[in-house]
Each structure stands twice: as structure tokens, then as C-alpha cells.
């Protein structure tokens, strides 16, 4: 079935340009055009669409207003802003309803790749309620103590962005959001930063302050949600996996991108757990209850009760937010690496290995019944023999973390 894409721009020549440049996609996509937000909503009412790409500034309804409306009415549609404006204030005001920001002029190839990617990730989740719920997410709740720490730093007489970066990089949800912002070409910053701490420094004091104090895009988990084993240990586990995956990747490759992706992917690999706990709190309590009482692991319980697993849920959101493919791939398949279609998946390998090693050694592992590395996958890339070596490295990482 052809993907349905809607382009919205008040400049008709821009629409003509899209129509011509995307003609090569006519067998995969069916493209519609609207020259205003109002017309776009009329068109969306006629049939289901997969992706909407809208200009930001238009007479009447603005792009942000349109996407907010689309988010409410058709949450499953992927919402992309394609704008020639570079006003940070406007961007900050639209972070909620927007999955991705792309800057004009954007080469047709890049536009095609971005749209193709968000179409592909649609296959990660079944077409039901959960997909709509995840598509509506603007941010993932933070660990309450991390959040308070950051607010305290920002409200202190001499707030240090570096300090904010250090604290923020220990939180999964805030890290993801900051990386989404930095990745959006909107800010005109390098596409690849090595991690959330650098991203915070890049964004700078003013924006960070706005994000936390005036825009208040970050929410927090209720302390009660964190009382069970899974939720209590997921942050620490994620941080360990991030650090260990980075070290594994460093030994495998010199490609800085892969190393960074391994760290970021490691930090965010369990983001799906937080998403599910946030959007389906009661269901997820049941999942955890099931894991604690019955002899089944977390993924199976999730499948049973929710119909999807946290790895796919996390990858789906990161995909919507425009994270690079290797990270999405690594998050989606960190439990089942051999299912990945990607070859030479260094980041996936590093994250899978780091995850398994930490689970075998930590309490959280209980929820997964202490999994073993995917043997076919690990054999394939020749890491099986080094397992004991990495277990030693892991011990060091844990030790270091305790002292920080």
C-alpha cells in the first residue's frame, strides 16, 4: 500500500517543487498538497495519512498550530516541520507537537530519507492504541531527583550549564529530548554530538533555562511509580550500559560516530520501559507484577499484556524524533540482535553485549531471568571469547560509578 504524505506550504512554488522532485517516489507514495493549515485539515479528514510535512509560518493557522491539531485528531500521523525560519523561540514553542524539524532548503534526497525512515519505523509497532499513544508523546518523565537537582542548579545564583549537562546525562527522558532538539537541524548545530552533556552545553544557558523554567517541557515520574524493582533500577542500568557499550565500541572501531551512537543508544536502550510506564501506568504495573510473581521475563510479559515490547516502543519514539538509524536499530533489537536487518551493526552489538553483561550481574537481570548473549550474533562478530574480559571491564565501570 502506498504511503500517504501531505505537504503544507503557503508558497505554491515550494509545493510545485516538492511535486516535481518527489515524482520519483510516485510508486511508493501518494502525495497531497495544501497551501494552508485549514485546507490541510480538510484533506486529512478525507482519508488516512502517514506523514505530514508542514511549513512553520503561514497566514492564518501556523505550522505549530496545525501540527498540534493533527496530534489531537490523528496522533498516528508523523509530524514534521520544514521551515526556513531560524527563530529559536518559535522552535521552542513547537517542540511539543513536532516529531522532527527540518530546515529549508532541504535537499530532496534528505527529505526522502527522513520520510522513508519514519515510514519504516511504523512497522515496529502494531497499528493500534499503543502507536497512537506513543506518537502523542512530547517528552518522557524524568527521575524526580534528577529533575529537582537541575532546577536547583538553574535557580542558584550562578547556574552552570556544564553541571546541568552532567546531571541531565544521567536521566534517560531528558537526555532523549535534548538530543532530539540538538539533532533537529533547526538549531543549525552539528548533527552529531557525542552525548547529552555536550548537547546541553551546545544549546546554552538561555535555552536550557527556557526549557526547564518557562516552557516546562519536562515532567517527572511520581515517586510511587518507581517503587518496583524494574523502575527503580532502570536509570542506573542504562547509564552502565551506555558507558560499557561505548568502551566495547571503542575497541571494535575508530569511527567516532559509532562510538557516540553506542553510548547514546546504551543510555536510551530501555527508554521504552519509561514510555510504557508513563502512557499505560496501570497496565505496566500489571506487567511488573506478572514478572515478579510468575516465571516469565519482562519482554514476554509486555507482549502478553500490551502487545508490544519496550525495545520496539523505545525505537519507535526515537525514530519519530529523527534519531539516526544505528541508534534506532540498536534500541529496537537490543534483546534480539540477530533479528536486525542491518549489517556491521557495531553499535547494536556493543549495546547488546553491555546490556546482557550488566543484567547478569545486577538485580534488574532478575526481571529478564538473567539472559545470555545472543550466541549466533556474538559468534558472528567474534566476541564470544572476549566475554570474560568485558565482564571484568564491567566490574570496573560499576566501581567507578559508585565513587562518582
Amino acid at each position: 500500500m502506498k504511503k500517504q504524505i501531505l505537504f503544507v506550504d503557503d508558497d505554491l512554488k515550494v509545493l510545485d517543487g516538492f511535486r516535481r522532485a518527489l515524482r520519483t517516489m510516485r510508486y511508493q507514495w501518494e502525495i497531497s498538497f495544501a497551501e494552508s493549515g485549514e485546507k490541510a485539515l480538510k484533506i486529512l479528514a478525507r482519508k488516512p495519512y502517514n506523514v505530514i510535512v508542514s511549513d512553520m509560518h503561514m497566514p492564518g493557522m501556523s505550522g505549530a498550530e496545525l501540527l498540534r491539531e493533527v496530534m489531537e485528531r490523528y496522533p498516528h500521523i508523523v509530524r514534521i516541520i520544514l521551515s526556513g525560519h531560524s527563530n529559536q523561540d518559535t522552535v521552542l514553542r513547537t517542540i511539543g507537537p513536532t516529531h522532527q524539524y527540518i530546515s529549508k532548503p532541504c535537499p530532496a534526497e534528505l527529505l526522502i530519507t527522513s520520510i522513508k525512515r519514519v515510514c519504516t519505523i511504523q512497522n515496529l509497532l502494531p497499528d493500534h492504541e499503543i502507536k497512537r499513544l506513543v506518537s502523542k508523546i512530547a517528552s518522557i518523565p524524568s527521575h524526580p531527583s534528577r529533575y529537582t537537582e537541575i532546577i536547583n542548579v538553574l535557580k542558584s545564583p550562578k547556574p552552570s550549564v556544564k553541571k546541568v549537562g552532567e546531571i541531565l546525562s544521567k536521566d534517560i527522558g531528558m537526555s532523549a529530548k535534548i538530543l532530539q532538539l540538538i539533532n533537529s537541524a533547526y538549531f543549525g548545530l552539528p548533527q552529531h554530538v557525542s552525548g547529552p552533556a555536550e548537547a546541553v552545553i551546545y544549546l546554552g544557558h538561555e535555552i536550557i533555562k527556557k526549557l526547564f523554567l518557562s516552557e516546562q517541557i519536562f515532567t517527572q515520574f511520581q515517586p510511587r511509580t518507581l517503587e518496583n524493582l524494574v523502575m527503580a533500577s532502570v536509570w542506573e542500568h542504562s547509564l552502565t550500559v551506555g558507558i560499557l557499550a561505548k568502551q566495547i565500541a571503542q575497541q571494535q572501531t575508530r569511527d567516532q560516530k559509532t562510538i557516540n551512537y553506542s553510548y547514546i543508544g546504551g543510555l536510551l536502550h530501555d527508554i521504552g520501559i519509561l514510555i510504557l510506564a508513563d502512557i499505560l501506568p496501570a497496565k505496566y504495573e500489571e506487567v511488573i507484577y506478572l514478572v515478579e510473581k510468575e516465571e516469565i521475563d519482562l519482554c514476554t510479559a509486555e507482549w502478553e499484556l500490551i502487545g508490544s515490547c519496550h525495545d520496539k516502543v523505545g525505537a519507535f519514539l526515537l525514530g519519530l524524533w529523527g534519531f539516526p538509524d544505528p541508534i534506532i536499530d540498536a534500541v529496537a533489537f537490543h534483546h534480539t540482535p540477530s533479528e536486525s536487518q542491518t549489517r556491521n551493526a557495531n553499535s547494536l552489538m556493543a549495546i547488546h553485549l553491555a546490556d546482557v553483561i550488566d543484567l547478569q550481574a545486577s538485580k534488574l537481570g532478575e526481571a529478564y531471568r538473567f539472559p545470555k548473549p545472543d550466541s549466533t550474533f556474538v559468534d558472528q562478530i567474534g566476541l564470544a571469547n572476549e566475554l570474560s574480559y568485558w565482564e571484568e571491564v564491567h566490574k570496573e565501570v560499576i566501581l567507578k560509578q559508585k565513587y562518582i
Binding site: 522532485a21 503561514m58 526556513g84 529549508k104
Partner: protein, 487 residues
């Protein structure tokens, strides 16, 4: 005529000729006083120069053994000796003075507006006192010790002494006044210099403010200008990609046509060749390309035009300007400012221009003039946006017109916005007055605009407004700024 005045000690013994000559000599002497007063002004200031000048005159009248001049100190009414001739008799004079002060004769002499001759017991000689005073005040005292003991001094001589010393007093008074005037002038000059410096500093500050406001305005525009350039850049890129994708197909088609031409030259086109060509035409959808390519090229050129237009408008708008006014095409410069600000108004209003094509070139600072136009257009757009926020829906209109009215060029910028409320009317040209939300402007725009038009261009900036109907700003610039001034 040397010394011959005093030789006549007994006037009544004179015959007519002698009397006549004496009178003429006296008149000469009085006249010569005018020379003194004339030369005195040019000389060094203070009481001493007039005193030095008067001494030879007095000597002509009477034989003084010693002449002494005292100056009064206005603070404590004390007398100080300022000149004693000959200087060696200073002690003598001081003793004599002390004697007369004690006796009270000095004080008494002070209030006699004539020469007072008193016998001195100390010296056994006679001393002549004469106050040195103008009508306004006492300036000092003259004291002369006469060489002889003849008590009789003819009235005429006495009068001449009085005239000489009055003249001396006037000169001293003059010099005092001159001093005061000088001090006053110096103070004035100093104040003037300080003022000039302050004006200069203020000018610099004002220029800085104008620059800062301009930067702020440009900052507001920058994002919009980027958008105005990025939009055409987007579709030009897309169009070229489309052309690039089309070309191989068209080349294949041309290749097939060539085959056909070749076959035709060789005699006949085999039907299967013709069929192949028409099949390919259908497959590649040649009609689509035939229809689309010309539009693609036209639109791309339009896009390039849009970019060039805004870039050249930016060049005109951001004219750095110099110290000198330059002859400017007002219509063109307004047009570019409208183009540069397009992103500010295009979502809320249409801009209609009604330019007088026969306007003369105007001497002005184009950069600053543009800034004024921009400020007013931004305000107009904001005023219209306010009405749109209130839900009235459709776009407003900003009408910009120029016309010549006698020796003036009038520029009118009219909006269909919310109007200026009564309470704000008197304040809109005040610095730091703003009704915009924090961060949207510092309230310098109109204050600076007013300064630019009125102070720098000798023009006028006024407005008419009606609530919920709109506002017109009217700028009037003199066509010949050198000869015209603000009416």
C-alpha cells in the same frame, strides 16, 4: 607747555594773553587724559597702569615731593599702598598716613570730593589728599606731599587735579569691570565648551542608540530574511533535481529519434522503430515533461529573482550611510525596505504602494531614513496583527504613498490596524515608551525615528489615528534642506 600750568600760582595777576594760554594748556591737559583712558584699556589690567599714567599729569599741576596711591580693600575697608613715588619715601608716607588716620583727617578727606590740603605736624609740610572715586564707589586715595608750604592752590588747579584723579578712578573702575567681564567671559567660554562637549557626547550616544535600534530591527528581520531566501532556495533545488532526473529519459528519447532520422535518411522508417519510439514516449510520459519543464524553468528563474531582489534590497536597506547626506531616490529606497520587511507584514497584511513617479531626488541619510520606514512598517504590521488576534480574520492593508507638496516630499504610511489609544498618543515619540510585550522591542523605534526625521533631516513626523480604524504616519522631508527649515 611743560610745567607752565603750575608757574601761574596767582591767576588774578595774569594778563589776558597769559590767561588765555593757560586755559588752552589746561584744556590740552584735560584732552590728554582721554589718551590715557584710551591707552589704559589696552594695557595690563589692575589699578597700577592708570596710576602710572596719571602721575606725570599730576606733576604738571603741582610740585609733589612724594606721590602715593592707596587702594581700598572692599572687604574690610582697609587701605593698601600700591604705589609710592619715589619709592624710597615709603616710610615717610606710611608715618604720615598713620598720623592722619589717627587724627581723623584721612577719613574726613575721604568724603570730600575735592583736594584737601592739610598741614602736617610731622613734616612741617603740607599734604594733599584726594579721594579716588567714581559715582558708584570709592576706589582709593591719592596722597601727595607738597614741596612748598604755600597754602594757596588756585581753584583751577584744584579742579584739574580732581579731573585727573576722577579720570584715574574711572580707569581703575574700568579695569576692574574689564577684569570681571573677562572672568565672566572665561566662565562663559568654559561653560560653552563643556556644553559643546556634552552635545558631542550626546550626539555620539544618539548615534549609538540609532545604531543599536537598527541592529535590533535587523535582528528582527534576519530570521524573516533567511526565510525569504530559504523558500526559493528550497524549490529551486527541487526543480533542478527534477530537471536532473528528467534529462536521462529525454536523452534516451533523443537517441531513439536519431535512430529514426537515420532510418529515414536511409530510405524508410521501419514501423517497429516508430512503434518503439511511441511506446517509450508513453512509458516515460513525454507529455508530462513537455508541459512541466518550461514551468519548472520559469519558476526557478522567478525564485532566483526573489533571492536577488531581497539581497539587493538588503544592500539598499543596510546602506551604512556616512557623514554626508546623499541624493536618494525615495521611492526606490522605500520599496527595498518593504521588500526586506516582507516577512514581517506578509502574514498579516498586503502592502499597497502609490508612489509619485516624478519625485525629485532628496538629500538624506538613506540608512537612517530606511530605519524610520522600517520602524513604521513594523509598527503597522503589529497594529494589524493585534486586530487579527481579536479574531477579525482577514488580512489588513498597509498603504505607502509618496507625493510632492510644494517644497516638501510627503510620505504616508497608513495601516488598517488597531489605532493608537488616547492615553498613548502623547507618548509615542518618547524614548522607551512601548506597548509591545517584553522582548519585542525596547521602545526606541519611534523616538529615534522622530529624531532622525526632525533633527537630522529638518523634516516633520506626525500621525493621525482612529481607534480600530488605523493609523497614518506622515513624514515630510524638505526638498532643499539647505534653504528650508521646519515650518
Amino acid at each position: 607747555m611743560q610745567n607752565n600750568l603750575k608757574t601761574i600760582s596767582v591767576p588774578f595777576a595774569l594778563d589776558f594773553d597769559e590767561m588765555n594760554r593757560w586755559l588752552l594748556d589746561s584744556l590740552d591737559l584735560v584732552a590728554s587724559l582721554g589718551d590715557i583712558s584710551h591707552s589704559g584699556r589696552k594695557q595690563q589690567r589692575g589699578p597700577l597702569p592708570p596710576v602710572q599714567e596719571i602721575k606725570p599729569v599730576l606733576r604738571k599741576l603741582l610740585d609733589f615731593q612724594v606721590m602715593a596711591f592707596f587702594k581700598i580693600n572692599e572687604e574690610d575697608l582697609d587701605f593698601t599702598l600700591i604705589d609710592c613715588d619715589p619709592i624710597g619715601e615709603r616710610t615717610l608716607i606710611e608715618e604720615e598716613l598713620e598720623y592722619h588716620v589717627e587724627k581723623g583727617t584721612f577719613a574726613w578727606a575721604l568724603y570730600q570730593n575735592r583736594p584737601v590740603v592739610i598741614a602736617s605736624d610731622v613734616l612741617g609740610k603740607r599734604t594733599l589728599f584726594h579721594v579716588m572715586a567714581t559715582k558708584k564707589r570709592i576706589l582709593g586715595m591719592f596722597m601727595g606731599i607738597l614741596d612748598y608750604d604755600d597754602p594757596f592752590i588756585p581753584d583751577a588747579i584744584q579742579k584739574l587735579v580732581s579731573i585727573a584723579l576722577l579720570n584715574c578712578a574711572s580707569l581703575i573702575e574700568n579695569s576692574i569691570l574689564y577684569d570681571e567681564l573677562n572672568t565672566y567671559t572665561n566662565e562663559l567660554e568654559e561653560a560653552n565648551n563643556t556644553l559643546k562637549q556634552e552635545i558631542l557626547e550626546r550626539k555620539l550616544l544618539e548615534n549609538e542608540l540609532v545604531q543599536a535600534q537598527k541592529l535590533e530591527a535587523i535582528g528582527q528581520l534576519a530570521a524573516g530574511i533567511a526565510h525569504e531566501i530559504n523558500n526559493p532556495a528550497q524549490f529551486i533545488g527541487d526543480n533542478i533535481r527534477f530537471l536532473q532526473d528528467s534529462l536521462p529519459k529525454i536523452l534516451i528519447l533523443i537517441e531513439k529519434y536519431r535512430h529514426m532520422v537515420k532510418a529515414a535518411k536511409e530510405g524508410a522508417i521501419p514501423p517497429e522503430l516508430g512503434l518503439e519510439v511511441s511506446d517509450y514516449e508513453r512509458e516515460m510520459d513525454i507529455n508530462y515533461f513537455l508541459k512541466e519543464i518550461p514551468i519548472t524553468i520559469t519558476q526557478s528563474l522567478e525564485g532566483i529573482n526573489r533571492i536577488s531582489k531581497i539581497v539587493s534590497a538588503m544592500k539598499v536597506f543596510s546602506h551604512p550611510g556616512g557623514e554626508e547626506k546623499i541624493h536618494t531616490d525615495i521611492n526606490k529606497t522605500i520599496e527595498s525596505t518593504i521588500t526586506v520587511a516582507r516577512n514581517v507584514w506578509k502574514y498579516v497584511a498586503d502592502v499597497v504602494t502609490d508612489f509619485d513617479q516624478y519625485l525629485p531626488l532628496i538629500l538624506c541619510y538613506p540608512g537612517e531614513f530606511n530605519q524610520v520606514i522600517l520602524n513604521i512598517i513594523v509598527n503597522a504590521a503589529d497594529a494589524i496583527a493585534d486586530t487579527l488576534d481579536n479574531g477579525s480574520g482577514t488580512k489588513g492593508t498597509i498603504t505607502v504613498s509618496t507625493q510632492q507638496k510644494d517644497d516638501w516630499v510627503e510620505i504616508q504610511i497608513k495601516d488598517t490596524g488597531s489605532g493608537i489609544p488616547e492615553t498613548a498618543k502623547t507618548k509615542i515619540f518618547d524614548p522607551f515608551f512601548t506597548t509591545k510585550e517584553v522582548g519585542k522591542g525596547v521602545g526606541q523605534g519611534l523616538a529615534i525615528s522622530h529624531n532622525i526625521i526632525v533633527e537630522k533631516h529638518g523634516g516633520m513626523l506626525t500621525f493621525e489615528t482612529a481607534m480600530n480604524k488605523g493609523t497614518s504616519f506622515i513624514i515630510k522631508l524638505p526638498i532643499n534642506p539647505e534653504t528650508q527649515s521646519t515650518a
